[in-house]
């Protein structure tokens, strides 16, 4: 068996032109598919930045919320109601809003402001400079050092700015897992200061962060919150909700999906066509092999092996190419939103397998039908 596979491989590789076309076709398709889907994955992870960074187990929100930045304020009584649910270890409010920050040179910079519960500071970020207790100091704000940090003119501890005519002082620099999608810096402060400095509607809580006593309590908590007319989601569910919103309710998801599909179709047609031509050109030779004594399934193995080895090679090259591009792009554009997830890789691989399967199916159908008698007759 190994021998005929080697023959198959040589037949394909020695046909330089077609082999190159096949490899280029698959590489190109994989490259585009991975590129598209990883940009989308990057967008999704950035869109869920607040959820990931705050990291609460359960989030209580208005049922209409589908994007962490566009929160809908919750009435205060809900906090007490949630606290009284069986199985709730603790529940604290989170402020989330945006505000214009006036920098020292007089320019304005929009910022996302997160206000942490004063008594517990649940959801606090990891500081790389400063002390978390200083958040309680006068006008204390913590700045997140992400790609947007420079937009605040690279502040240091002690840097001051203005926020709605209130003074703000940087008391700490934090790092977070994910930076936001909208290209604006993030400030952390206390809940009390946030609602004091930033004009708010009647209600002020964006979310209630809940820590259940155990994971088993979550279904009960969700049910109780639902009875009150609100929505409780786990961290994962909330992220999924955001992802679904971007996928299905904005143009982003569908467009990326369409582009991915087109890349797939382009790859499929290049490969299907080339492989078909390859087999057509070699029909007589395959027929001669059959006459000599090759069995039908051996020819099928040859075809499958040819298709699969091209597919895997093209896949590897495509992944390599897009990793390289993303790497280079991230050096140049700090905000470049692309992450290659295992799901992207698996999706691209699955599509390559489909390309391989379809191409070899077309070819195998031809090869199976070859009658050595026709070859013999010339």
């Amino acid at each position: 068996m190994k021998g005929i596979l080697k023959i198959a491989f040589k037949l394909l590789v020695n046909d330089r032109g077609k082999f190159a076309t096949l490899i280029v076709g698959i590489t190109f398709a994989v490259f585009l598919m991975v590129q598209m889907t990883s940009v989308f994955a990057g967008i999704l992870s950035k869109a869920s930045a607040t959820i990931i960074n705050i990291g609460s187990s359960v989030w209580v929100m208005d049922p209409a919320v589908n994007n962490p930045l566009n929160s809908i304020q919750l009435p205060d009584y809900i906090l007490d109601a949630v606290r009284s649910i069986n199985g709730v270890n603790y529940a604290v409010p989170l402020y989330s809003g945006t505000s214009l920050v006036k920098l020292r040179d007089g320019t304005y910079q929009p910022c996302s402001v997160l206000g942490l519960d004063d008594s517990s500071l649940v959801g606090r970020p990891e500081l790389i400079q400063g002390n978390i207790q200083d958040i309680f100091a006068d006008n204390g704000f913590i700045v997140v050092k992400d790609e947007e940090f420079a937009k605040l003119e690279n502040p240091t501890i002690g840097t001051t700015f203005e926020l709605n005519d209130h003074r703000g002082v940087v008391v700490g620099i934090a790092k977070v897992a994910t930076s936001g999608l909208f290209g604006i810096p993030t400030l952390y402060t206390t809940f009390t200061r946030a609602i004091q400095y930033i004009p708010s509607p009647r209600f002020t809580m964006a979310y209630i962060l809940v820590e259940p006593k155990s994971a088993a309590d979550i279904p009960h908590i969700k049910a109780e919150v639902a009875k009150a007319g609100y929505l409780a989601l786990t961290n994962k569910e909330f992220q999924q909700r955001v992802a679904d919103y971007y996928k299905y309710q904005t143009g982003v998801g569908t467009n990326i999906l369409v582009m991915t599909l087109i890349s797939f179709l382009v790859g499929l047609s290049i490969c299907g066509q080339t492989f078909y031509t390859f087999v057509l050109e070699n029909m007589e030779k395959f027929g001669a092999l059959k006459a000599i004594g090759a069995k039908g399934y051996e020819l099928v193995y040859m075809i499958l092996f040819q298709a699969l080895s091209t597919g895997v090679t093209g896949y590897g090259l495509g992944i390599g190419l897009s990793s390289l591009l993303i790497f280079v792009a991230k050096q140049k554009v700090p905000n470049y939103a692309a992450v290659i997830t295992f799901f992207n890789l698996a999706l691209a691989f699955a599509m390559v397998l489909v390309i391989v399967a379809v191409s070899s199916y077309i070819a195998v159908r031809k090869v199976i039908k070859i009658e050595p008698f026709e070859i013999f007759r010339g």
Binding site: M1, K2, G3, I4, K6, I7, K10, L11, N14, D15, N282, E284, K285, G287, A288, L289, K290, A291, I292, G293, A294, K295, G296, E298, P372, F373, I375, F376, R377, G378
Partner: protein, 234 residues
């Protein structure tokens, strides 16, 4: 070895549908013996290739039996027929059908590789057979770089590389000039024919008739005459 190398019994083959049958072979019986080089000649369309294909396990007859080396081949399952061909029958086609993207050495090694022999061992044996046909110095070239006669010699080497007892040639000299054709056939007769082997050759080519031990003449799907001894063109 008293049995015939090849025995055809009342072979019939028609094409088309049950209603409109076109008969290509209308009941042919003959025997070919070991140590014999048997020619099958006849006008175009007389059924020579069809007959040869049925004998060699490539085309299933509508009726009749074929015994090769005493084995009734058309009662075997398809994969066994393929194996039988691989082990017992060597083919040379009119158009050679060599793989243009493989070297001549690899081309010759194909039957051995199909027999699941080790790759290097197959190439080594193939080298010996290339030497027999006098092309050892062309081993690494692709067949496209060889002349027609040389390509036909490569096809010969491929046909004999797995040491089959039955060799089947369909119009082996049709694409060659007269001198080269004669050279190939005399080589076959002198080097490849022995008492364990039977060679069946279909040909139009009157220039090589003289090499045949017996000549079966066909017309319209029937045998019209069997002649013994090198026949000269009348």
């Amino acid at each position: 070895m008293t049995e015939a190398a090849v025995q055809a019994i009342e072979l019939v083959k028609w094409f088309g549908t049950e209603e409109i049958k076109t008969y290509a072979v209308r009941g042919i019986s003959f025997e070919a013996n070991y140590g014999e080089m048997l020619y099958i000649v006849g006008p175009s369309g007389s059924g020579k290739t069809t007959l040869l294909s049925m004998i060699s396990g490539i085309l299933r007859p509508n009726s009749g039996r074929v015994l090769v080396k005493g084995k009734e081949i058309w009662t075997l399952p398809p994969n066994d027929i393929a194996d039988f061909r691989l082990n017992n029958i060597g083919f040379v086609f009119q158009d050679y059908h060599l793989f243009p993207k493989l070297t001549t050495l690899e081309n010759v090694a194909i039957p051995l590789i199909l027999k699941k022999q080790d790759w290097d061992e197959s190439l080594r044996i193939a080298g010996e057979y290339l030497e027999i046909v006098g092309l050892q110095d062309r081993a690494t070239l692709t067949p496209t770089k060889l002349s027609g006669g040389e390509q036909q010699r490569v096809a010969l080497a491929r046909a004999i590389a797995s040491r089959p007892d039955i060799l089947i040639f369909d119009e082996p000299t049709a694409s060659l000039d007269g001198a080269t054709g004669r050279m190939i056939i005399s080589f076959v007769k002198e080097q490849l024919l022995n008492e364990h082997r039977c060679i069946l050759i279909v040909t139009h080519d009157a220039r090589i008739y003289e090499y045949g031990d017996r000549i079966i003449q066909m017309e319209d799907g029937r045998i019209v005459k069997i002649t013994s001894g090198g026949l000269r063109e009348e």
